[in-house]
Assembly symmetry: C2
Homo-oligomer: 62 residues x 2
Amino acid sequence: MKNSLKALRAERGWSQADLAGLLEVSRQTVNAIENGRYDPSLPLAFTIARVMQLRIEEIFEE
Amino acid sequence: MKNSLKALRAERGWSQADLAGLLEVSRQTVNAIENGRYDPSLPLAFTIARVMQLRIEEIFEE
DNA sequence: GCCTAATGTAAAACCTGCTTTACATGGAGA
DNA sequence: TCTCCATGTAAAGCAGGTTTTACATTAGGC
């Protein structure tokens, strides 16, 4: 799966640590997802969509 | 997370085994998700949305 | 040149998602 | 009643997601 998390985060002026704080996950988790090392769980994908104010399908694609 | 998979599947007249075939996962996986034993991975959630012709947010909620 | 902040990455440990095999139960139809 | 189909569940095992700790690199400000 692909995602545009890095760009969306940058648009908002957030560091990986900032985003990790909002998501209540570790900074390494944010980094790993941004760099495609793995996909988030479904609950985490929902949280990401919520803090980004977007739909999951607008952030991730198959 | 909650989901309405059981109802959506029933609307379509599919058995758990039918849906499992479409999703290319085991019947036990469908059963476990329907009964809330665990959430699907994000890729599987995308596949479910695709075969249901709905958005992920229309099937799952936090 | 130094300090600090941001990013990338690694290992170990743990928990969750998914598989296969296998068995039990209930309902519908011949 | 017998059989078949759909559903629920369990155990063992492998794969993937997440944490903590820890270290290296780069870029910017002073």
